[in-house]
């Protein structure tokens, strides 16, 4: 009996047999097709809309925060709509500011960037790039999305309940986060925990699915070292999620019990250990930040190679670098806790492991540069975003080196230097990677091209304003400005920085305004854009061998893979690309 046979009898249909084209023969109702769909491409799009929505929410929260920092104590324009518990007369209250920071960080990390990278591109790309008809467990995949939705609702519900939304930072350090006596937040803090537990299940189901799919569902000839880098990165990311999220879930459960039923895992008054929470959080948290960057690295590698029409420089090294980042990511979490009162010897160990992680990042950076070297570079919108990923990630990574040095971190820890670092890697890195990915695969998702002119304008303005927002934050940090500060003017030595804070805030408003261009371009192109051919970028990977958008079941015939994904400008063929499934010319057909 064959494996395929076994699966078929379990699933009711044979998904591993070649030529399987899914359920397209029978008409599906609207609900089955778009709401409770099991098609990975539809689920990917659902994640796209969900997480773009949360990106907008996170951006709006950031805008309000920046209003307070740029114009402290002044009423927000249109701020009158807020109740007096948040912003009486439009003037943000300190406790509301704390909620804004917390919810901004949490929403951006867990509900915008992570689902954008993992939910959207994981779903869209993995089956298409490995030549599979769908995910290994389509129904589990659907569950993954439909867990993310209630998680998001619970998270946002924090704003509606008495006491406001969670306000202990996205890191929710105990014991502050354990009691309303200290935060002034009641239910909100618990909703935050509950939401993240649910979101954890969503990520976990996704991860199980991705890993199984990549291991077991590859098309014939798709050996490990012929897998395109986005899929590689998503595979590694899924492993990180699989092993990191349960640690957080365990910690969150303990935190929830501390908050509700009177246990004292993290509360010193009952001999609990606050540092235990920090260890648990960061043991998850550091792998988490690589979860937030690795898929973007994969996307960027793909775009760079394709738009430079050149094989990726050092494909094996790229894969190995990602694996070592993922591995080293587990042993550096202590660098977030240098000043937390942890054992200083342990601090030294973490300092050394942290700097070592710069090495695989260096390999990746230089290999990207190597890819451009002697290429034939096409400056399309996705390429521009990918290039700015490379240049901004360098800045963010280099600022990480300052903090990795524990004594230097003593001064810059919890200052705006950290805020600058994290936005350079998360916005300059992840979000530019996401922009690159969305603009690159938009035709595959929606069957239409995205507006190129508008895309370039959006890119240019975003790039400029983004740097105007976050670059000066380094300088603020160097002057000693602490983060999570409602009104820096309380401190005399920070008063001269107000001008700079105002400058940043104004730049933020311009940055946010620029994003309307993107939103407009996105929706306009979805309905009115130029019809996309199957392979608009002359790319090699399998997703471009099927129509845009691909039909249910993806491949009419199961593709056979003959070569690696980045055979651009190969002398073997006339064209400057050489699709993975194109038989070699002298094939014994």
């Amino acid at each position: 009996m064959s494996t395929a046979h076994l699966v078929s009898s379990l699933e009711g249909e044979d998904r591993t047999q070649p030529g399987y084209t899914g359920e397209e023969h029978h008409e599906l109702s609207f609900i089955r097709k778009y709401v409770f769909s099991t098609d990975h491409k539809v689920i990917g799009k659902q994640f796209l809309f969900l997480s773009l929505f949360f990106l907008v929410v996170g951006g709006a929260l950031a805008g309000m925060m920046r209003w307070q920092l740029g114009f402290p104590g002044q009423p927000m324009p249109g701020g009158g709509i807020f109740p007096d518990t948040m912003a009486p007369g439009g003037i943000i209250l300190p406790e509301f500011y704390n909620s804004l920071v917390t919810m901004h960080g949490t929403i951006m990390v867990f509900f915008a960037i992570m689902p954008l990278l993992v939910g959207v591109f994981g779903n869209l790309l993995i089956p298409l790039q490995i030549g599979a008809p769908d995910m290994a467990f389509p129904r589990l995949n659907m569950a993954s999305f439909w867990l993310a939705v209630p998680a998001g609702i619970v998270m946002l519900a924090g704003f509606l309940v008495e006491g406001g939304a969670a306000g202990a930072g996205w890191t929710s350090y105990a014991p502050l986060s354990t009691s309303s006596e200290w935060t002034g937040v009641y239910l909100g803090q618990q909703l935050w925990v509950a939401s993240l537990i649910i979101m954890g299940f969503s990520s976990l189901t996704g991860a199980v699915n991705y890993i199984t799919t990549v291991i077991n569902m590859r098309a014939p000839g798709m050996t490990w070292f012929r897998i395109p880098l986005p899929t590689w990165s998503l595979f590694i990311t899924a492993i990180l999620i699989l092993l990191a999220i349960p640690i957080l879930t365990g910690g969150l459960i303990m935190l929830l019990f501390d908050q509700t039923i009177g246990t004292t895992f993290f509360i010193p008054a009952g001999s609990g250990e606050p540092l235990l929470w920090q260890h648990i959080f960061w043991f998850f948290g550091h792998p988490e930040v690589y979860i937030l960057i690795l898929p973007a690295m994969g996307i960027v590698s793909e775009v760079l190679a394709c738009r430079a029409r050149k094989p990726i420089f050092g494909y094996h090294a790229m894969v190995l670098a990602m694996i070592s980042i993922a591995f080293l990511g587990w042993i550096v979490w202590g660098h977030h806790m240098f000043q937390s009162g942890m054992n200083p010897m342990l601090g030294t160990t973490f300092m050394i492991s942290t700097v070592v992680i710069a090495v695989p990042s260096a390999i990746k950076t230089f290999n990207w540069l190597g890819t451009l070297w002697r290429g034939d570079i096409h400056f399309d919108t996705p390429m521009l975003h990918a290039l700015s990923f490379v240049s901004m990630f360098i800045i963010g990574g280099l600022s990480g080196i300052f903090m990795a040095s524990a004594p230097v971190d003593m001064y810059i820890h919890d200052t705006y230097f950290i805020v600058a670092h994290l936005h350079y890697v998360l916005f300059g890195g992840s979000l530019f990677g996401i922009f690159a990915g969305i603009t690159f695969w938009f035709p595959k998702m929606f069957g239409r091209m995205m507006g190129e002119g508008l895309g370039k304008i959006h890119f240019g303005l975003t790039f400029i304003f983004y740097n105007m927002v976050f670059f000066p934050m380094h300088n603020l940090g160097v002057q000693g400005m602490m983060r999570r500060i409602y009104d820096p003017n309380e401190y005399e030595f920070l008063q001269p920085l107000q001008e700079m804070n105002t400058f940043i805030s104004i730049s933020v408003f311009l940055l946010v305004a620029t994003q309307f261009l993107f939103a407009f371009n996105f929706f306009w192109s979805m309905f009115k854009g130029r019809q996309a051919p199957a392979n608009p970028w002359n790319s090699n990977t399998l997703e471009w061998t099927v129509p845009s958008p691909p039909p249910h079941g993806n491949f009419a015939v199961m593709p056979t893979v003959y070569r690696g994904p980045y055979e651009y400008s190969s002398p073997e063929v006339e064209a400057d690309f050489y699709p993975q499934n194109q038989p070699p010319p002298q094939a014994d057909a």
């Binding site: 300190p94 704390n98 350090y173 014991p175 502050l176 200290w182 935060t183 002034g184 010193p268 094989p311 420089f313 050092g314 494909y315 000043q339 937390s340 200083p344 010897m345 601090g347 300092m351 050394i352 942290t354 700097v355 260096a362 390999i363 540069l369 190597g370 451009l372 070297w373 290429g375 034939d376 570079i377 290039l387 360098i394 800045i395 280099l398 080196i401 300052f402 040095s405 004594p407 230097v408 003593m410 001064y411 820890h413 919890d414 000066p472 380094h474 300088n475 160097v478 002057q479 000693g480 602490m482 409602y486 820096p488 309380e490 401190y491 030595f493 001269p496 400058f503 400008s569 400057d576």
Partner: protein, 225 residues
């Protein structure tokens, strides 16, 4: 607007070593930054698409990859090892100056309470006295601060001294510093500790030894009454 990457003046004994480490890293990363970004821009100009251009068919170079793996490795390892001494000096209690003056700083929402030993030089006796949001210390004398917290985590931040240390409820964490000149400096809280976090601040008064003694004496007297 101050776009400077220079650190403000430091007034602690170990401050210059930390600042130096910062500047070393600034130079290294600065060089790396201009190098990589420069190469990036150069490539973008040199290899931009032109009609009839075909990219080189190159898959990589083991030699180049070894070079750009080993070089950064050596650089960053050096950074870590060079950082180790100042780190141990400041944070490892085994290396603290033995004759330091002892203080207890207790953080709570949203104030800093500084407890002095009083006349007998010992903390925990009846003649201790406590001042709020003020940290008075003599210049040129090592101060050992035993940090405590009453409610949640706070962070004892002396920007001018380059010192930061979280205070954790249920624990006592020692740190030390030594001021190199007199003056008034900032004491801040650097860990989110609730809605008043932003205003949990104090002032560090660095006195001459004589001034400090008379201040301490007058405070001790006040306490007696």
């Amino acid at each position: 607007m101050n776009w400077s990457w220079m650190l403000p003046e430091t007034v602690s004994t170990y401050g210059p070593a930390i600042d130096q480490m910062y500047y070393v890293i600034l130079v290294i990363t600065g060089v790396v930054f201009f190098l990589t970004e420069g190469i990036l821009i150069a490539f973008l100009i040199l290899y931009r698409h032109k009609e009839g251009r075909k990219a080189a068919y190159i898959h990589g170079s083991t030699k180049a990859e070894v070079i750009w793996t080993v070089t950064p490795f050596l650089i960053v390892m050096w950074i870590a090892l060079a950082s180790k001494s100042s780190w141990d000096l400041v944070k490892n209690p085994a290396n603290f100056p033995a004759d330091a003056m002892q203080l207890v700083v207790t953080a709570k929402q949203y104030e800093w309470n500084v407890t002095y030993a009083g006349a007998d030089g010992r903390i925990g006796t009846a003649d201790d006295f406590t001042v709020r949001n003020q940290l008075h210390v003599p210049v040129n004398r090592a101060i050992r601060v035993n940090l405590r917290a009453e409610d949640v985590i706070h962070s004892f931040f002396l920007p001018d001294f380059r010192l930061k240390q979280d205070a954790i409820p249920g624990k006592e964490i020692p740190v030390w510093f030594e001021a190199t000149r007199t003056g008034e400096f900032t004491l801040g809280c650097a860990e989110l500790c609730g809605l008043g976090h932003y205003r949990m601040k104090g002032t560090v008064y660095v006195h001459t030894e004589a001034d400090f003694q008379s201040w301490a004496a007058s405070r001790a007297e006040e306490q007696q009454q």
